[in-house]
């Protein structure tokens, strides 16, 4: 069987105008504009079979979204080829657009000023979904995502999470065979995230659809994907099973401590001190996962600790460490 998605040496280089600040630079830039080439995606190859759920991981600016945009047809690549369901995506053939979906951000298919229900009906017409099929799909989506209470409100009055639910639902009305999901759980609370994950799993099982998703949440990926593709600095760094990946990635935990006079205590003897975390009040150290218990009890015994947290390090850092070394 031919793979659903086949990507060959796909590359995208953006030309970004570049100039320094200031009036003089602005004038010079008017006559002689300089461009910098930004290689967002470089010679990426992979194949995805029908029914696979694949997670795209990588730090911000790694090229995940650019790849998704090319696969969905929004962007023309600089070089290379892609084949999705037998189509070249960026030719934007009607038949192709009817068999895939791209869910991206929170402002996409829903019209901001009118209730979601009207956007749903518009999409029914655009995708030429017969009435009975539409009702059936809507019922399924409503059961899984609890849409009904949201449908009558203007979209601008929905919360971020509510809007995301509607975006995903409206993107699936036409029962696409291929789903490109860019951060499908962004902005959702834990229950919301779990619900979307369950839903996608169910959809994949029921319809045999092929799904590619990008996410910042490791939990999304571990729950949904058996296969992971890691893109970093525009290059494909890893393509394989999630289990092999966890072996490859050193299992670290992040211990955060809040204490009196934090600056007086040297934490480096307990583990590697991590700087620039979002939570500025706390100090963070990174330790091997199997040493967490030992080091935590030492910290609690040695220092005047008011609060302590143990968490997985952010996915970006893990990838950075695993593939940049």
């Amino acid at each position: 069987m031919t793979p659903t998605i086949k990507v060959n040496q796909l590359s995208k280089t953006y030309q970004v105008p570049e100039r320094e600040g200031g009036f003089g630079a602005a004038v010079r830039g008017f006559f002689n504009r300089k461009y910098k080439d930004v290689k967002a995606v470089q010679q990426v190859d992979f194949k995805i079979e029908q029914g696979e759920v694949v997670g795209f991981l990588g730090p911000n600016g790694a090229g995940k979204t650019t790849t998704l945009k090319m696969l969905s047809g929004l962007l023309h690549p600089t070089s290379g080829t892609a084949d999705v369901l037998g189509f070249t995506p960026w030719e934007l053939k009607t038949e192709y657009l009817r068999s895939m979906t791209l869910v991206m951000g929170q402002r996409n298919r829903l019209s901001w000023d009118i209730p979601a229900a009207d956007s749903f009906l518009l999409n029914q017409a655009i995708y030429r979904i017969p009435d009975d099929e539409y009702k059936e799909t809507y019922k399924e989506l409503d059961e899984l995502l609890e849409l009904e209470p949201l449908m009558k409100k203007p979209v601008r009055n929905l919360s971020l999470g509510e809007r995301m639910k509607c975006e995903i639902a409206v993107g699936l009305l036409h029962r696409p065979k291929v789903l490109f999901l860019d951060e499908p759980t962004i902005g959702l609370d834990i229950t919301g995230q779990a619900r979307i994950r369950e839903f996608l799993q169910e959809y994949n099982k029921r319809t045999g659809a092929t799904i590619i998703l990008t996410s910042h949440y490791m939990a999304d990926v571990t729950a949904l994907c058996e296969r992971i593709i890691i893109i970093h600095h525009g290059q494909l760094k890893y393509d394989g099973g999630i289990n092999d990946l966890s072996k490859k990635i050193a299992p670290f935990k992040l211990i955060g401590v809040l204490m009196e006079n934090a600056d007086e205590h040297d934490l480096s003897k307990y583990g590697e001190v991590v700087e620039n975390m979002e939570d500025a009040d706390k100090k963070f150290i990174q330790v091997k996962a199997d040493e967490v218990t030992r080091i935590t009890s030492r910290l609690l015994a040695d220092l005047p600790i008011r609060d302590i947290t143990i968490a997985d390090p952010p996915i970006e850092d893990v990838i950075e460490q695993a593939f940049n070394a």
């Binding site: 934007l92 009817r98 929170q106 402002r107 999409n123 655009i126």
Partner: protein, 265 residues
Amino acid sequence: MFLIFKRLWQVNWAEQWQYRANLLMYLLYWLVSPIIYLAVWTSIANANGDVKGFTANDFVTYYMVLLICDQVTSNIIIHTFAYKIQDGSLSGELIKPIHPMLTNALVNNVAFKVLTMIGLTPIWVILFFLFQPDFSGVTFINILIAIPPMLFAFLIGFLFSASITALAFWTTRIYSIHEFYFALILLFSGQFVPLTLMPKVIQDIAQYLPFQLMLYYPIQLILGKLSQAQIIQGYVMTGIWLSVSILLFNWVWREGVKRYSAVGA
């Protein structure tokens, strides 16, 4: 396809109603320049008796019809679409299996026009009683044969503006290009002054340009001022310019989409 346009209409109609205050302001703004031209030309004609045979009442009659023709043939596509290319919000529409410009944006423009037309009607009636134009040359047949070229002139104007809008795929500074295009319309469409009062050279050029199809040609047609040969020439020019605008728009759009960078989300 019919259902698509019906639902697009429902959505856009509802959307336009959300912005009715904005719409009213736009209507007032849009009424200002023809009314100024009307006032200026009638006072000049009143002072001199006439301007090259155009009496004050001729000007009144001309501009009263112009208000309607302009309402039918003008468009606002650049204001409702260009930003989508620039800020990346076009992405959601580009991957839908319908043409974003020729379906949604077109219907959006029509919805806008119908609503402003409703706003214009009472104003026009007041102006009618105020200025008392001479509509003796207007016949039902004239209006009937003016309707198709007016609708096509709307399409021609829409496609030209859409082509300029699509230049946003290349540059973010399209508004100055559009301003220039607008100046051409002002000069060659017969808005600034009825074309018969223009120098002979400009009249000769204007009759081969698309701009007079938007105002001057339908106005003269409705007022019964054109010979049969002139009417036919107008129909032929409409056909030619419609073809040109379709080809131009298709080419600009196709090449533009290749350069789309889907910025932002």
